[in-house]
Symmetry: C2
Subunit: 465 residues, 2 copies
């Protein structure tokens, strides 16, 4: 089995190298020819299942892949293998260290007056409770701000409950507001003497899934364990509180010590110059679901788009680099490692774009280009427009893992997806393959393929000259 | 506290008795007056939240209430208390025994080739596995019939997986077919030497909830543990099987020995004769959710409808008896106990109707009357028609707990609900209050109030004369 695998790997490398020798050098095609090819890639993308098939492979063969876990290591092997299988070049894993955190056990119960279980999940980074948990009266705050406005001290022995709702929007703007309680609840509870914090999940569904996500303790704050309640359980707790005093027991058992290995998995379509167009998604996921929409989809969309370009068998002007970032969920650790490693070559990165907002249709083309290069955004947009994509603004974030590059001056693009349903599944056990629509993800692959081809071949880049 | 409770109980009884003395005897009103009152009850029902409030109270203050559990005992106290609070008469609990079964722990994992957790839940009545579980290769069968068609013996050491789908229908007819695998999978697996059985959940959703439900071992069959996979996990297992051999570990820890106390909670609106109109729902629920649609809704609808009638302050011709059946989920144990206890008085039961199909709108009025009494069904239907309720057939089941009475000749009515979404939540952790629409449940209360008033007061009954 091992020898066979090695043979296949060697065969893949040889074949890949051979094919790239065969590839016709583009030799700086005219912009017109670039747009034409981009349009043909859109047709191919819409007719292809390559994006879906990559997510299917990742979520089935690996499943959940928590940052720093053994499963994330298997995902990196999968990533290298998938890049090889598809014929990409310069395949490598660039390792880095990440803090080790792992969920072992979690449970919550109303003790009185209405004994029953509550569905919770520990937030990433939370400390454990003692083995029997913590038991206390629940004090509810409608919003994080209400908790912040409460006197310092005064919640000694209590369990704080921040019952703040999240607004559902197409663009996901409700998340930025609602997510503050993820760190804020525990930190403000700790400052006031509370023994634990609970939050209504940062999410938009009404199912019995608690949404996890990373939280960070402030320095010099008494650390208290923190967990999220599913929306129906937050409702239930709130109803019980309307009837009187409620006592709850919370048990969290997590491992949170030392460091573990993580890494970015990278492959390329080598170009004729040393300029780089960077696309990607993140390989890690939370541990509860199989990470289909977050962010198997981003991996499928960007690798799938690059595969369509690879199959053109034409050498692009610039190198197309596809990055499967590691350990995004726990603080953009892979993105920071990448930015550090390539800090002397970031001027060669002409643009970065990450897909990390599910698999909903792209409806907007946001850029972060120099003002004088916006005409290029306009002409690229014309190619994307038939996909139902409008021209957005020039404040593109580029996606979470592009953030550290953008801060260092790398131009960014966001192909903004419809996120109306995204936070129904985000960071829950319910983030599974069946939540992805094949025709929606194909539209994403089509748009990325066209955009990447244009970015990699147009005469001119997106920075100030 | 105890003395206070006693005082309240006595006060409730005295007040209840006093109010019933005050009630105006109807003294056999004309059928026209009965229809008119029924129409007024529809208006009141549509404008009332009484049904929803009862479900809210039950699901919040008790939550899950497994047959024979301490929680079901609390639910009986709640039921008696709610009947008292609302002013009903002849309130009592009629106890019986039920087999004790309880879920302690459940877990499943793909061991190879793609290690990851699978969401499962033990079926009610299943035996435990050894503490470390059972581990074996999965053999998949598209339907229960395919498993039945497999040779006796030949699955030694294997884990059988019955991947049969359920059809979504308005009337719920897909359930009767799909539910057969709940007992069938384990029994057929046991006959063939398998070590465990897994089924695709009997349900219609695509969320990561496994659906539990009762199963029964055949006599003289080797008992094997059996659990249901959520739909996304059944998909995942099927995808893994398409790629090759899959080994799974299943751990179930259940308590299954001895008997426990259960009971039916009963109240009445006394009539002028000894004839009885019986309505009700079941008080027990599965342990995973809070039993809102199954069957808090049935309790809310029938108790709420009776409350509207009680508030008319008119003594009906016949006694209206409301039954909160115990231990329905584990084999209609409360229904059988009722039929046994009242076997000599069933001829006085002029009709029985249970609400046990969620809180969706009623769309059909089914009866099971003597042919010569169908004209009464037609005239009752005319009153219900403005609620969007069509005339159904004359094969009404009357609901699960009416079954034993119907077999003994008691006429039955089914106010058939829209069950399109019912099996999305049925027997899952996601069966919670937020799944009930207030205006839908009000339509149910309106229909039941009108039907019960007519059944309790019309000149003529529904049997053969």
């Amino acid at each position: 089995m091992k020898i066979l695998q090695l043979r296949n790997i060697l065969l893949g490398c040889v074949l890949g190298g051979f094919l790239s020798l065969l590839a016709t050098p583009l030799s700086y095609a005219s912009d017109e020819a670039v747009y034409k090819e981009a349009k043909s890639l859109i047709k191919k993308g819409l007719a292809s299942d390559v994006g879906f098939e990559i997510v299917e492979s990742l979520t089935t063969e690996i499943g959940p892949r928590l940052a720093g876990s053994e499963a994330e290591a298997r995902a990196r092997s999968w990533g290298e293998g998938k890049f090889r299988e598809l014929g990409f070049s310069n395949i490598r894993t660039e390792p880095f260290l990440v803090k080790h955190w792992e969920r072992k056990f979690e449970q919550a119960q109303i003790i009185s007056p209405y004994p029953q279980n509550l569905v919770i999940t520990a937030l990433g980074g939370s400390i454990s409770t003692p083995p029997d948990g913590v038991t206390g009266e629940v004090v509810s705050f409608p919003t994080l701000q209400d908790l912040k406005d409460a006197p310092v001290k005064g919640l000694e022995g209590k369990i704080v409950f921040v019952d703040e709702y999240m607004t559902r929007t197409q663009g996901g703007s409700g998340y930025g507001i609602a997510v503050r309680k993820r760190s804020g609840a525990a930190n403000e509870a700790g400052k006031r003497g509370a023994i634990a914090a609970l939050i209504r999940s940062v999410g938009t569904d009404h199912h019995r899934f608690a949404h996890t996500g990373q939280m960070t303790y402030e320095d010099d704050v008494t650390k208290v364990p923190v967990a999220a309640l599913s929306a129906p359980d937050a409702d239930q707790l709130q109803r019980a509180l309307l009837k009187g005093t409620v006592e709850v027991n919370v048990v969290l058992d997590v491992i949170s010590q030392g460091e573990a290995i993580s890494g970015n998995v990278i492959a390329e379509i080598p170009g004729e110059t040393d300029e780089i167009v960077l696309i990607g998604g993140h390989l890690d996921s939370w541990d509860l679901g199989t990470g289909a929409i977050d962010d198997g989809a981003g991996i499928g969309i960007t690798v799938g788009a690059a595969k369509l370009i690879l199959d053109l068998n034409k050498t692009p002007r610039r190198t197309i680099r596809i990055v499967m970032f590691g350990s995004e969920e726990v603080g953009l650790i892979g993105a920071k490692a990448y930015a550090k490693k390539y800090r002397d070559r970031l001027d060669k990165h002409i643009v970065g774009a990450e897909s990390d907002f599910g698999a909903g249709r792209i409806w907007k083309f946001d850029t972060n280009f120099a003002q004088e290069k916006l005409f290029l955004a306009e002409s690229m947009h014309k190619v994307l427009e038939p996909l139902g994509i409008g021209r957005g603004d020039n404040n593109a974030s580029g996606g979470p893992d592009i953030g550290p590059l953008r801060e260092l001056g790398v131009p960014a693009v966001t192909l903004k997806q419809n996120g109306w349903d995204y936070f129904d599944y985000h960071h829950t056990a319910d983030d599974t393959l069946d939540k992805i629509d094949k025709s929606d993800i194909a539209q994403n692959v089509a748009a990325y393929a066209a955009f990447v081809w244009m970015a990699a071949n147009l005469n001119g880049h997106f920075r100030k000259d």
